[in-house]
């Protein structure tokens, strides 16, 4: 009876057997989830972050260094229930912090390490390491924070901070983990790939208690960390720090360039901040405070703030006028200008016009330039002339990026026919409508770097080299990788530059820029006043020295300083002297500059910018 019931029974048990084998096949062969190294809780991926590259000045002095610390990470999957009270006491944190960090970590990934607590000093680390056996799922990784032995140049150096969410999500290959540091501004951002080095990783075996049991597969997948490359810069810390002193209580910026190389000797943005504020655990708090400061100390003015070049732009007009053949050094241009003369004889010839910064003279020069076709010498309409003139001033670095090794460099603005067509209508404007651009006012937007680069063009008598802060990157100053640069020529004959330079020399010898004189050195310069609708004008001075074989070109802007010759030229003079001679013997003079105030810093006045 019922012998046949053996078959439904066998079918039933074989069905179960088949389901189980399929399930096992799925777990062991099809589904990859359990075979990744991440999934194995007996294997822990330990990342070793190498020391970040340091930054040196041109004489090998440290600008940015590292302090070694330890960061604690958590892998939520591997955490076992633990005694929160003693844990909090050990690390001096509170329970809400623990809960929120654990929740965040779980949210990110159950299997991967998330930052839990940042920057324990070596001393704190040795105090807790023995107790860690009670807290599986937590581990330490060596890390560092930035220190600034010279305490200067915060804006150009930039800072590192936790990788922003968007950048974290958009990285192509997964390199940064959540909470990892990355360069966020300045050189730290621009040279991130050099500075960060190459991370090492080790697959460590651990047991369920979290004890290290050696390397996974004899370390076959382990890689060693490679230390980050140092940045060897052209910066002269002496000049840089002197600039910091001279700009005390002032708003403005300074850039000094070595004309022969394009190397940046000093780059200051004022008011600045203590770079140490943005290093370490206090970053979020300090960063928020700095963003709220109305003087915007985080703004790197030399590459981002816009000014009108003012009278310094007359040098460019002079060089182009000479190059185009519309004037010679002896050309006298008087009358027929809406500008009035400041002093007698200023329109007598080019050198006098430069020395006395004549407005009527350069009004006439630009009128000639814009109505002249340099190839044929025939008269052309102003919009066509302006197109040709734009090409020329762009070769001086205006209206384009110079290619400096910093993020967020602005192109700036130059007057263009398209712009005037838009404002006044096509063919609805003529030279007399826009004549103020002849003296560097009107539709310009120029940052201090471009002004310094202009000084460099005159120092080089007609060309400039890509300005750059970093000379080479590497682990050794002599065996590094040099920063690539380019030469840009103005295509104006060298002798015309010699003529303009003679005018610049006269500016300092007996003209508006006498405050920049250095004993025993021929200084060439030009003052400027950048009109400012919202307050006192900004004072500009550009210069280079010595006249023959120049070593330094500089641009100084003091906001609300009114006269370039009074507010900016003395600063430029002292800085150049410091660079050329290694020191200056004018302490009293320095003190008086330091104590001069033109505006109330941190008092509600923000840097002026030309609005587009």
């Amino acid at each position: 009876m019922f012998e046949n019931r053996k078959f439904p029974i066998l079918i039933f048990i074989y069905t179960i057997g088949a389901i189980y084998l399929l399930r096992l096949f799925y777990l062991q062969v099809v589904d990859e989830e359990y075979r990744t190294i991440d999934a194995l809780n007996s294997v822990r991926k330990e990342i070793s972050i190498p020391l970040r590259g340091q930054i040196y000045d041109r004489y090998g002095k440290l600008i940015v260094a590292n302090e070694e610390v330890y960061d604690m990470y958590v892998i939520p999957q591997k955490v076992l229930p633990f005694d929160t009270v003693s844990f909090c006491r050990l690390f001096q944190i509170d329970k809400p912090y623990v809960d929120s960090m654990l929740a965040q970590a779980r949210d990110y990934s159950k299997l991967r390490a998330s930052l839990f607590l940042r920057q324990l000093s070596k001393q704190e680390y040795s105090g807790v390491i023995d107790a860690m056996i009670q807290y599986p799922g937590f581990h330490f990784e060596q890390s560092f924070y930035r220190t600034y032995p010279a305490n200067t140049m915060a804006n150009a150096l930039g800072y590192i901070g936790e990788i922003p969410k968007k950048q974290f999500e958009e990285q192509e290959e997964e390199y940064y983990r959540k909470g990892d540091y990355i360069g966020l501004a300045g050189l730290e951002k621009y040279y991130e790939l050099e500075l960060r080095g190459i991370r090492g990783s080790r697959l460590a075996l651990m047991n369920s208690k979290g004890e290290d049991k050696g390397s996974y597969q004899e370390g076959r997948y382990d890689t060693a960390a490679v230390i980050g490359n140092n940045l060897y810069t052209y910066i002269d810390l002496g000049v840089q720090q002197l600039a910091d002193s001279l700009f005390q209580g002032k708003v403005g910026a300074v850039v000094a360039i070595e004309p022969a190389t394009g190397g940046i000797i000093a780059m200051g943005s004022y008011p600045t901040y203590d770079p140490a504020l943005l290093s370490g655990r206090e970053f979020p708090k300090n960063y928020a405070a700095l963003t709220r400061n109305p003087d915007r100390p985080l703004n790197n003015r030399p590459v981002s703030a816009f000014y009108r070049p003012g009278s310094t732009f007359k040098l460019v007009q002079a060089a182009i006028g000479l190059g185009d053949g519309v004037i010679t050094t002896s050309t006298s241009l008087s009358g027929n200008s809406k500008f009035s003369m400041h002093s007698a004889g200023e329109t007598a010839n080019l050198l006098m016009a430069i020395m006395k910064s004549s407005n009527p003279y350069f009004d006439n020069v630009l009128r000639r330039i814009l109505h002249n076709d340099p190839k044929t010498g025939r008269a052309i309409p102003v919009d066509e002339g302006m197109k040709l003139w734009d090409e020329q001033i762009m070769r001086f670095g205006f209206g384009r990026q110079l290619g400096i090794d910093l993020p967020y460099e602005t192109k700036g603005l130059i007057p263009t026919p398209e712009r005037y067509d838009k404002i006044y209508g096509k063919k609805q404007w003529k030279y007399s409508t826009i004549y103020s651009i002849s003296i560097g006012e009107g539709e310009y937007g120029v940052n201090v770097l471009k002004l310094a680069n202009m000084a460099s063009v005159f120092a080089n008598r007609g060309y400039w080299i890509t300005p750059h802060i970093v000379r080479s990157t590497g682990l050794d100053v002599s065996k590094g990788k040099n920063t690539p640069t380019e030469i840009t020529k103005t295509n104006i004959d060298k002798r015309h530059f010699e003529e303009v330079v003679r005018g610049m020399e006269m500016v300092v010898q007996s003209g508006t820029g006498r405050a920049a004189q250095i004993s025993g050195v021929d200084v060439c310069g030009k003052t400027g006043t950048s009109q400012n609708a919202k307050g006192k004008d900004h004072a500009i001075f550009i210069a280079f020295a010595p006249k023959h074989n120049p070593k330094i070109a500089i641009a100084v802007v003091v906001e609300n300083g009114t006269f370039g010759g009074r507010a900016s030229a003395p600063i430029a003079g002292l800085l150049m002297e410091k660079y050329l001679k290694g020191s200056h013997n004018r302490e009293a003079y320095k003190e008086s500059i330091m104590n001069t105030r033109y505006t109330t810093v941190a008092g509600g006045k923000s840097p002026r910018e030309v609005e587009e």
């Binding site: 053996k6 399930r23 096992l24 096949f25 062991q28 194995l40 007996s42």
Partner: protein, 426 residues
């Protein structure tokens, strides 16, 4: 000595060899599970479970000898007495056994301890076989069915009182015997339907209406597609509606019972099957690590003693209830295929041998042996791969443990002894 020669001839050596092979595979994996990288000890060391298992194997061999030499009629004759005595032992155990993690199921004799619940399956099987083989007893008589069920259900009730729920579940295996002996097919069908509904109720815990809607749809489909026109009468209509109400009530009752009768940790053990994130550090941790160990083995496994999850103690109870994880991690899919294959060959062979028995007692007993082995396999392996809640039940012949090894050995070899004598007259 004539008798001894008979035994050698009559013994089913295929079964014996599979038994030995499973024992050896088990031992090798117990050694891997307890292997300590920092302080490796030889397999025979009595400091760890592998060495103790060897000792239990020696004991098992002695027991086999005794079983093979005792007259085979003893089991039939004394089945009820064994049953009665053992029920007493089970009840006594509740009172004299020490509390081990809340359960009172282990008896201690000096340095040894023994779990009577393990042997209860064999003894119940003997009693059931005797009852069902009694002249005139048939499954078609409701009275007989009730008596058979009482024999089956008494021991698990006592075992549940010992708080050893896992062992009690294995008694579900007896439904296969009842079916084979004539229990109407509708009972196991209903049983399976309820299991399916239970799982569905769990999956759609918050949307039970989906399950009920599904049942209604099934009833309508059945009415129109499976019943012929002339069968769609009033009586059948009542039956279909009755079944629908029965199933729906079951789903609702299970949901209610699940949330109100089970303790939260028991609820979680079941919920993690559907969603491993329910209890990540408790039941979820065990399932996750068990699946991880097996899954990380891949097709060929990591190699003997190379399983990192195994070596570093991530899987709980790895030498006993979770021994299958070691096989999965170190021997891969190939390893588990071989092990499951061996079990299925063994079980099929026992069913086939059982069918060949001339005597009802031996046949029923054989069916019981195969079914009990199968249910252990079903629950134990199902639990390690996350298909069944975590229930503490050993893998026959492979898990570490004297009680289970000796009990399974007795279970199997009584059948082999009966089988060896199948050609003799009583």
């Amino acid at each position: 000595m004539a008798r001894e020669i008979d035994i050698k001839k009559g013994l089913d050596w295929t079964t014996v060899w599979i038994y030995i092979i499973l024992l050896m595979i088990g031992l090798a994996n117990i050694y891997a599970a307890v292997y300590n990288v920092d302080n490796p000890k030889p397999i025979y060391s009595l400091d760890h479970n592998a060495g103790k298992q060897i000792m239990f194997m020696v004991l098992a061999f002695v027991l086999i000898m005794i079983i093979l030499f005792i007259d085979y009629k003893v089991y039939d004759t004394f089945a009820y007495i064994f049953y009665g005595v053992w029920m007493l032992v089970l009840v006594l155990t509740i009172f004299i056994a020490p509390d081990i993690k809340g359960s009172h199921s282990w008896l201690r004799f000096g340095g040894f301890q023994f779990q009577p619940a393990e042997l209860a399956k064999t003894i119940t099987l003997l009693a059931l076989a005797k009852y069902l083989s009694t002249q005139g007893v048939t499954m078609s008589k409701f009275n007989n069915l009730v008596k058979a069920c009482m024999i089956i259900f008494l021991p698990p009730v006592i075992i549940i009182l010992q708080k050893e729920t896992g062992s009690a579940l294995a008694f579900a295996a007896f439904i296969i015997i009842l079916y084979r002996e004539g229990l109407p097919g509708v009972y196991p069908a209903l049983f399976l339907a309820f299991v399916a509904l239970f799982v569905l109720g769990l999956v759609f815990e918050d949307q039970l209406w989906i399950v009920i809607l599904g049942l209604a749809l099934l009833a309508v489909l059945f009415w129109y597609l499976f019943l012929k026109r002339y069968e769609r009468n009033r009586q059948n209509m009542q039956r279909v509606i009755g079944l629908f109400i029965l199933f729906s009530a079951f789903v609702l009752a299970v949901d209610f019972a699940f949330n109100n009768v089970f303790a939260p940790h028991q609820q979680n053990r079941i919920r993690v099957l559907v969603n491993p994130d329910v209890d990540p550090l408790g039941a979820g941790w065990n399932i996750r690590n068990s699946k991880l160990a097996i899954g990380s083995g891949g097709f060929l496994g990591k190699g003997y003693l190379q399983g990192t999850q195994t070596k570093f103690d991530f899987v709980p109870e790895q030498s006993t209830d979770f021994i299958f994880c070691t096989v999965g991690e170190e021997w891969g899919f190939l390893g588990v295929f071989v092990v499951i294959g061996l079990y299925f060959i063994l079980i099929t062979r026992i069913y086939n041998l059982a069918e060949k028995q001339k005597f009802k007692f031996a046949r029923i007993y054989g069916y019981g042996v195969a079914s009990i082995l199968f249910f252990h396999l079903l629950i134990n392996i199902g639990m390690t791969i996350g298909l069944i809640p975590i229930i503490g039940i050993p893998l026959p012949f492979m898990s570490y443990g004297g009680s289970s090894l000796l009990s399974f050995t007795i279970l199997l070899f009584i059948f082999l002894k009966l089988d060896a004598h199948r050609s003799y007259k009583v």
